[in-house]
């Protein structure tokens, strides 16, 4: 003991004498870096949630993304919770939250915390810019440690980007995800992955464990935030959102080319000319070097998204756009989601605390249907159950919001079905469109076209080559006349990109007479910028694009129309006069 004390004293004396102690005072740059790191963690932690089910049990993590309380977590965290959950913020307050929308394939859920309009929220980062070697940190509630909801934070490095992790069946597929050695443990599920500046770059969901037990062994995965950004408007629709597929099966040939092995006859890719044996070169702006690369690139898009595709056949390259189809048949997906909700939470690789599997919890889950009547009032006020939806209340809200905005900017009320529209084609030759409730007449320089709306509508696709221009105008009139309630079935889909340009537009889907019609609204101006009529699944839609909005007949109306069918521009129309009778 005396020897040790002597040594220690000796050592200290030597250090002091040699000036080492002075050198151990860190440089300003180090202290500043430390301060920045602490600030980033403070800021990010404030938006980090502990998520529990309505009874305050089980749970995972989450992150608030807007002041009105919208928050992201994993589908596998919310699946066993039913419509209501409790969320703890680091201020120590437990808030009621309601399910908004789910993406079961991507393992993402959007929920909304209730009771404030100034929730601390995370700033979005850009996960495409994340690179191997970046410093990142994970915040959340691993092992449900925090009773006061102060998140645990673990720092680490990005180990891999654009990683692919196989789904369980067809759900919970992680594509283009971020791999990190920052510790992601049971309970971290649904929590945020932040970059070193505290910007949200991913939502943590799973890890690789295998025989090492169910705790972190340096390999965790986060769903990239850029994928979630694409799904966000869809999630806000309250729907059960599906992922996309090309409708073709590809394989990597011996020489490394990625070739189409099989393709569905009624998918959009087929209509765009893609055939058996074609080589896929680019998809959504990514070079495709293997069939895995295509699977990875596909997984980040919602059903119905439109992406650029380049393929090669006999030395010739074709560049086109493809409207992606769903991974699932809709009702198949809804059934799968119901099965997930009944299962005790079993995320991919079993990333869940052990205590979630205990019998007590199972009993509670079996009792869920009866608990429905006991939803907290604030949740009940924002929840409406309907097949195909996580929460129909949000869909109705978005429909009405879009509709009211559109009606107020366009002033299109009581415009009836008798429209007379006159204008010019490129080159100056004139056209005239006469529309009534029962029929439509179009005079073009090269011919006259007439359709009747008295019988079956889906055959009325005149003029030939337009895909159904006159029908599209009729359906627009119908929406204006009947409104959301009486048009047919109307659903808010989310946002879709419009090409060229890729600007996103809010999309209302109306179903009438067995046909789907997409009404596309500008996010900035609420103008109706497009109508897509899908007369049948195997046919290309008639795509009507509106621009150059201005005053005509006392209303705000588009003075340029572009009619596209397939990839062919059928007509570009300039409107000079517009009369309502």
């Amino acid at each position: 003991m005396i020897r040790l004390a002597t040594y220690t004293w000796c050592c200290a004396a030597m250090l002091a004498a040699s000036g080492v102690r002075a050198q151990l005072q860190p440089a300003d740059a180090v202290l500043q870096a430390e301060r920045q790191r602490i600030e980033a963690i403070d800021r990010a932690s404030a938006a980090t949630l502990a998520v529990f089910d309505a009874g305050g049990q089980g749970g995972g993590s989450g992150v608030v993304i807007s002041p009105d309380g919208f928050a992201l977590t994993n589908f596998h965290v919310t699946a066993p919770c039913g419509p209501a959950m409790k969320c703890g913020l680091p201020n120590g307050v437990l808030y009621d939250a309601v399910i908004v929308g789910i993406d079961p394939v991507g393992d993402v859920a959007l929920i909304q915390l209730l009771g404030r309009d100034d929730f601390p929220h995370a700033q979005f980062g850009d996960s495409d810019a994340v690179a191997v070697g970046d410093w990142v940190f994970v915040a959340g509630n691993p092992f449900l440690l925090a009773n006061d909801f102060q998140p645990s934070v673990s720092y680490g490095m990005v180990s891999g980007v654009r990683r692919y992790q196989y789904p369980a069946g067809t759900l919970l597929e992680y594509t283009e995800c971020i791999q990190t050695d920052a510790a992601i443990n049971p309970g971290n599920s649904g929590g945020p992955l932040f970059d070193a500046e505290g910007r949200l770059i991913g939502v943590n969901g799973r890890g690789s464990f295998e025989k090492r037990g169910r705790v972190n062994v340096g390999v965790g995965y986060a769903i990239s935030i850029n994928q979630i950004k694409r799904f966000l408007a869809h999630l806000k629709s309250g729907r059960i959102v599906d992922h996309a597929t090309l409708g073709a099966i590809v394989s990597t040939a011996e020489d490394g080319r990625v070739l189409v092995d099989d393709i569905l006859g009624d998918c959009d890719a087929y209509r765009r000319g893609l055939r058996y044996g074609d080589e896929i070169i680019q998809f959504a702006g990514r070079e495709i070097t293997s069939s895995n690369a295509l699977k990875n690139a596909l997984g980040v898009f919602p059903r119905g998204w439109i992406v650029p595709l380049s393929y090669r056949r006999e030395g010739e390259t074709f560049d086109t756009y493809v409207r992606l189809m769903g991974v699932h048949d809709q009702s198949q997906l809804y059934d799968l989601v119901q099965q997930e909700a009944k299962k005790p939470a079993k995320p991919p690789q079993g990333d869940k605390p052990k205590d979630e599997d205990n019998p007590q919890r199972k009993r509670r889950q079996l009792a869920l249907p009866r608990k429905k009547s006991k939803l907290p009032e604030v949740v009940a006020a924002r929840y409406e159950s309907r097949r195909g939806y996580a929460n129909y209340w949000y869909n109705r809200e978005k429909q009405q919001e879009l509709w009211e905005h559109y009606r107020s900017v366009s002033a299109l009320e009581n415009v009836g079905y008798r429209w007379n529209i006159q204008g010019r084609l490129p080159g100056g030759r004139s056209f005239e469109l006469e529309q009534t409730a029962s029929e439509s007449f179009l005079r073009l320089p090269y011919g006259n076209f007439r359709v009747s709306f008295r019988g079956e509508l889906d055959g009325q696709l005149s003029p030939p080559g337009s895909g159904g221009l006159l029908l599209a105008v009729h359906l627009w009139q119908r929406l204006l006349d009947k409104g959301l309630a009486k048009f047919g079935e109307v659903v808010y889909l989310g946002q879709l990109p419009l090409y060229p340009g890729g600007r996103r537009a809010d999309c209302l889907v109306g179903t009438y007479a067995g046909m789907e019609t997409h009404f596309l609204f500008s996010i900035d101006t609420s103008d109706l910028v497009g109508i897509d009529v899908f007369p049948a699944e195997h046919l290309d839609p008639c795509e009507l694009r509106f621009s150059d909005f201005g005053e005509l007949a006392g209303r705000r109306l588009p003075r340029r129309w572009k009619v596209v069918h397939g990839t062919t521009v059928f007509a570009e129309l300039e409107i000079d006069a517009w009369e309502f009778e």
Binding site: C11, V30, V132, R163, K211, G213, G218, V219, S290
Partner: protein
Amino acid sequence: MTGIPASLRKPAACGLAIFLVFTARGACHADLHQTIRLAQRKVVKIYGAGGLRGMEAYQTGILISDAGHVLTTLSYVLDTNDLVVMLDDGRKWQAEFVGSDPVRELAVLQIPVEGQPLPHFDLHQSVKADEGQRVLALSNLYGIATGDEPVSVLQGVVTAIAPLDARRGAHQANYRDTVYVLDAYANNPGASGGALVDWQGRLIGVLGKELRSRVTGTWLNYALPAEKIVTSVDDVLAGRELDSLQDERLPPERALSTEALGFMLVPNVLPRTPPYIDTVRPHSPADEAGLRPDDLVVFVAEEPTASCRALVDALARYEFEEEVRLLVLREGALVEFRLRTAATAPDDDR
């Protein structure tokens, strides 16, 4: 500093090292990405034998010459004629087995590269690491990277430089010399043969096979120092013979038995009763693997089992949870079975 024991001097030196690393970090940040990318190109994915439960059919290797030599760990993965080495850019070749060092459990492969020389580590240019030094572990752990995807990168610190005292199942690890002990989870399935590099991308060591501490049973994270393997690899490359070590077995913590696997042998009535299976318990590992009454067990792994006694003894040298390979004579044909008790390893119960 004479008179001060090494153990007391270290904290000061260590603190200074950390301080220097931290000040350097801001400036070097952009370079770190570059360093990682360059190092990843020298690490390869290896695909070979395996694929059964708990036996991954992949591991990692590093390029060590411009003639296409690949250094990796000596394991069952290499035990195939169809051994594939895949580069960082997705190019792949059938690899030739050049030679091995059974003590360090290393093997050298060669791929027939043509054209541009490949980026590679030079073992003679490798560096030593100190305790407290920040390091990067590059490997294809869990086989995450496929095709042209780069291998995974984990970061950490050399927490100790100490002799390896480890076991794999009931076997003592052959290598007993010092290793770099890491705080990163560097030695996951598929990681062995990966590179341990410093923040300048210089090779420090090679990630070893999955091993548990002989004392605590916990999984180890470690790397063989490059300086400890350079001579041996030179010998392999030069075609010089290396001594093989006998495999020292330790008595298992909890021994395997016929009962645990779920079968009973015929009554042991003769001095050398042939080990015929008498009964198989329904739903037992034996039942699920497909063993049947009247099967004659002739081998446990490579060990002949001429009698009931021999079979019981052979099994008793296995850990309870360890997979065991039985070769059985059934209706004149030899059939192989792999069995493992339902109980899992202690750390899997968490």
